[in-house]
């Protein structure tokens, strides 16, 4: 064979070899070129993976894979939050975001190729994975007492299964907030309602004035329907109280119980009223949850109130001033004896592969630093008490963070605690069916049927 042919053959073989390695999931490919110089090539494996390249001269000690649901701005914020870790340790962090986390994560776990870290949007998934033995218990290398001190007992309990700590809550939110534009309210002479009845009277007043009081958006791809579940949970806390709420979440009372039906009917008084909601019921079903608050800021306002969690500020149009252009009031009480309970939620970090680098990373994520970095950008609240309130970018976020720590009655988002077949399945589709016009008893019976199977397994 001529020299040219030989070189071509070698190069082709190397090309094919590198492609095979890439296809087999290697994120770093080492290609040895005949001139005896080792070149390290880091190639992106899937569309959604981005590799954070260390900017110092630290030797590259490998990459940790992280899987989560974040995309867009949230993902950029997370990458900024972990940049100091990469700088100091030389370990890269590759983040893979997907809205269909359950499916992708299940496939990887079943295939024996899980990501090192996963950021779960609810503890229900944590319990499911822990039960399957796929998670590494954090108490095997972390100081649980320090975690308890930094986060408080309730956050530790929520991330524990069978007596072991499996997760750290990284990004938390309070959900019982109603967002409004104070300028729009002032222009029309509206006042912040202090009770549910006042809020309904305000809605009627807005309709009488020719406006639309509420914006609701239920669409969210494979997760469509979840914003409605927050409404039901908030109303349950305010009408039935925390003990009945706990029973409901544990399926100790049926979905067809009058207390549950009552909560849905109260939600229906707003959501099913085409005059109350921007775009009517069809608008609710077709509007993405992130786009839903936009009409608040139109001129004239498309709507005046939007009930949503604290993280929605990350989806508001840019350039708005918190406190002036937007503000919130806590969802008012319905039964005076239950006051204003706080419905909280959070993303929990779990560990699937046990290596010294991943252990180091988990300890870093549990510390105050990465939480402070993201907190400073807005749309993020930390459950870590070490994070001082001053890092939050505005008084509004501080108000939210304080609402979490100050709440007299606080409960975690119910649908996140239920088994996925209900909390991430039948409950979501139940909301869509109800808003779409299906009669309530049928909806509740369907969810109950799914719950009967899901809880007993």
């Amino acid at each position: 064979m001529s020299r040219y042919r030989k070189a071509l053959a070698v190069l082709s073989i190397l090309l094919i070899l590198s492609m095979v390695l890439v296809a087999c999931g290697q994120k770093t490919v080492t290609v040895t070129v005949p001139v005896e110089r080792t070149v390290e090539v880091t190639v992106p494996v899937e569309r959604t993976v981005e590799v954070t390249v260390p900017v110092t001269v630290q030797p590259h000690k490998g990459t940790i894979t992280v899987m989560g649901v974040w995309g867009g701005d949230e993902r950029v914020a997370f990458q900024d939050a972990v940049a100091p870790f990469t700088k100091e340790s030389g370990i890269g962090v590759a983040f893979e975001g997907t809205r269909d986390l359950s499916a992708v994560l299940t496939t990887r776990v079943q295939a024996g190729n899980p990501p090192d870290i996963a950021i779960l949007p609810n503890p229900g998934l944590l319990y499911e994975l822990a039960q399957g033995g796929h998670l590494i218990p954090l108490d095997s290398f972390m100081d649980v007492d320090k975690v308890k001190k930094d986060y408080g007992q309730s956050w530790v309990d929520l991330a524990s299964y069978n007596g072991h700590l499996y997760g750290i809550f990284y990004k938390v939110a309070i959900k019982s907030l109603v967002w409004y534009d104070p300028k729009a309210f002032k222009a029309k002479g509206y006042e912040v309602p202090k009770t549910w009845d006042e809020m309904m009277a305000l809605s009627d007043k807005i309709v009488a004035d020719g406006g639309t009081p509420w914006c609701i958006g239920l669409e969210s791809g494979a997760a469509s329907g979840w914003p409605g579940t927050d409404w039901i949970e908030d109303i349950m806390l305010r009408t039935a109280g925390p003990q009945v709420y706990d029973k409901w979440v544990r399926h100790e009372i049926s979905w067809t119980d009058p207390a549950v039906k009552n909560a849905w009917e109260i939600f229906g008084k707003i959501a099913l009223n085409d005059k109350y909601v921007w775009g009517g019921t069809q608008g609710e079903l077709n509007t993405n949850f992130g786009d839903a608050p936009r009409p608040l800021f139109d001129n004239p306002p498309g709507c005046y109130m939007h009930r949503q969690a604290s993280f929605i500020t990350g989806f508001f149009p840019k350039g708005l001033k918190p406190g002036e252009d937007y503000d919130f009031f806590v969802l008012p009480p319905i039964e005076q004896k239950w006051g204003t309970p706080a419905l909280i939620a959070g993303d929990v970090i779990v560990m699937l592969n046990d290596t010294p680098e991943v252990r180091q990373f988990v300890k870093y994520l549990a510390s105050a630093k990465p939480q402070e970095i993201w907190a400073a950008k807005g749309g993020f609240i930390s459950a870590n008490k070490e994070v001082s309130l001053d890092v939050y970018p505005d008084a509004l976020t501080r108000k939210m963070a304080k609402a979490i720590t100050d709440a007299k009655i606080a409960r975690f988002d119910g649908s996140d605690m239920m088994p996925p077949a209900v909390g991430a399945g039948a409950f979501w589709t139940g909301i869509l069916d109800y808003v779409g016009g299906t009669d309530l008893d049928t909806v509740l019976q369907d969810i109950e049927a799914a719950a009967k199977d899901a809880y007993k397994k």
């Binding site: 496939t107 991430a424 869509l432 397994k457």
Partner: protein
């Protein structure tokens, strides 16, 4: 054919057979086995999963929708494909027309789903419509915008329309080849004898194309029993559009109920087998011709 060393043939076939065994036979048997176990594949539960498949309300909706897809999708794609095949034959720029109609086949189902998501997009009445369908419906016909994917009376048909858009070209190409195989003298003779176009079509063209039609119909039925991407991307089975394959996916990956997911898979397999056998038989008959 006479092989001097018959084992040589087996040697050549061995790698393919091994792959089929590992990736087809073993998973099928395993799925069958798991369908009799519970959600975590730990305990034997007999026919519980199958009872759920055939009695639960959610599954009834899925069965109903798959049936709707079979009837509407198959008749639309085959019917349209046939009409287009016959008409394209008489048009000047036949290859251009055929390529244009065949083009959607080149798009992945997921891509097509995303495209049509925008076509069906809904905005409330006072906002500008970004979806083509609603823009026409509101702008030209002055109606209220319709949530094509969220309104139960039309959403299944909206999804089927996407499937038809993708597959009609495929049918048209196959049926066109069959149509061109019909000897022109037969048609000329019929026309000379005084038959009008309609009679020529029904009495001569159609009977001669029967074997190809049978293959095309059965291929479409097999396709539609597996429909997943379109439903998953556009509605995720919500608003009464659930189909069997999507439900199987949800049970497996979202609800972690491996027993039920396997049961649905087995039911789908059993539903497809007779159609596949008919298809094979017809195909072999065609080859023999």
């Amino acid at each position: 054919m006479h092989w001097r060393k018959p084992w040589a043939a087996w040697l050549y076939l061995a790698p393919a057979l091994l792959i089929v065994l590992a990736y087809l036979v073993y998973p099928t048997v395993a799925t069958f086995y798991y369908s009799f176990l519970d959600a975590h594949s730990e305990h034997f539960v007999g026919l519980t999963n199958y009872r759920w498949v055939f009695t639960s309300r959610a599954m009834h909706i899925a069965f109903r929708n798959n049936l709707l897809w079979i009837v509407v999708f198959t008749s639309a794609t085959v019917g349209l494909g046939l009409v287009l095949a016959v008409m394209a034959d008489r048009v000047r720029y036949e290859s251009v027309v055929k390529s244009a109609i065949f083009l959607p086949m080149a798009i992945s189902f997921v891509g097509a789903g995303v495209i049509w998501l925008f076509m069906y997009a809904y905005r409330p009445a006072n906002a500008p419509q970004i979806g083509v369908l609603n823009a026409i419906w509101v702008g030209i016909f002055h109606n209220h915008p319709v949530g094509w994917l969220t309104t139960r009376s039309v959403n299944n048909f909206a999804l089927i329309a996407v499937g038809v858009w993708i597959w009609t070209g495929f049918n048209m190409v196959i049926l066109s080849a069959a149509y061109k195989n019909i000897p022109r003298e037969l048609l000329e003779a019929a026309r000379v004898d005084g038959a009008n176009e309609w009679k020529v079509f029904w009495k001569i063209v159609l009977p001669l194309m029967k074997p190809t039609l049978a293959v095309v119909v059965t291929t479409m039925i097999i396709n539609v029993l597996k429909v997943f991407d379109i439903v998953y991307v556009m509605t995720n089975g919500n608003y009464g559009t659930e189909v069997l394959a999507n439900r199987m996916y949800k049970e497996m990956f979202h609800y972690y109920n491996f027993g039920r997911a396997s049961a649905i898979a087995v039911v789908l397999l059993l539903a497809i087998i007779p159609v596949m056998l008919v298809n094979n038989r017809r195909f072999r008959e065609q080859e023999a011709l």
